[in-house]
Symmetry: C2
Subunit: 187 residues, 2 copies
């Protein structure tokens, strides 16, 4: 950030009065420009013993597999965002189940939130941000080609809970920067 | 938003190529400026049969009571934000319990997230954003003077779950604009 989006003057980085963190501040019009983490919202669309995954047609992680998910938009609820992203990325209609995972990714300034969901029909296919969309049984999941560790963590929780017969909401953090590092346990 | 924070040129509102929503776009340097919902993170600090509330020293809702909560900062986890906000607003130290409520507030472009928490000692007091801080039993909660409906909803869930002896994570939406309207049920 170089310029004030309100008045166009140059901004500087300093700690505003009454604050304790450096912010982008405009000394011309007095605006403090805050930056905050973003929410990425998605779903685990289930059909019988399979889940729906999308292969990414965009960076980052072009060509890798993900659950349908994306940035929450203004004016939305988290549930509406999960339904919209599933429609956009997989042309798939779902009925939402409960909140399933909420995973902080502090090095990316993001929180990833996934809902359980019931796929309503098999009339799905890739949206503009997907190369392909397919259903996977647990033993077919491309674990080494998943796009993000929040996807890996969410799917591991899902199959473990399904095995135990008891689904709970899982909150946790993805703290290690390397994608090759171990997966921290959910809290 | 009037000016591009990257190059200082004027921005216009239009739908960028490959998108389906109007955004603030800079045609000089090509930057698309997205706006997304913010997370407000807080805690329900418990001490015996009481919970800790703060009376707000700032707008909006100056003078009304709230659970300690505030905007999540860059580089934080949701849990770290809950601990920090409780320290800043109530000078109180907590040990986090589980994720408790996640409530979308689409008309405010916010998602409010609360954790259960154990207050570690009674050495608390108002931070700069609070007028006073106090512990309340259920029958002492100032229900008519709570600052936000997400606070009311979170406390109602809390006391109902405590009565039933079974705490679960509650996700839901606060959809009615009027503060006087009925409280939508959690999903």
């Amino acid at each position: 950030m170089n310029f004030c989006s309100n008045c166009g003057a140059s901004v500087i980085i300093r700690i505003p009065a009454g604050d304790d963190k450096p912010r982008h501040v405009c000394d011309n019009c007095g605006t403090v420009h805050y930056k905050n983490p973003l929410m990425v919202i998605g779903a685990i669309p289930e059909w019988e013993d399979k889940v729906l995954l999308c292969r990414r047609a965009i960076e980052p992680r072009h060509g890798y597999w993900t659950l349908p998910a994306g940035f929450m938009e203004l004016g939305e609820t988290t549930g509406a965002a999960a339904i919209r992203e599933t429609l956009e990325e997989a042309n798939a209609r779902i009925e939402l189940g409960g909140l399933y995972t909420m995973l902080s990714v502090p090095h990316a300034n993001q929180v990833h939130i996934f809902y359980r969901a019931r796929l309503l029909d098999l009339d799905f296919g890739p949206g503009t941000e997907s190369l392909e969309v397919a259903l996977f049984r647990e033993d077919e999941i491309p674990w080494d080609d998943l796009a993000f560790r929040t996807i890996t963590s969410t799917l591991r929780h899902f199959f473990a809970d399904r095995k135990s017969g008891r689904f709970a909401t899982h909150a946790g953090d993805i703290l290690v920067q390397s994608r090759k590092g171990p997966l921290p346990e959910g809290r």
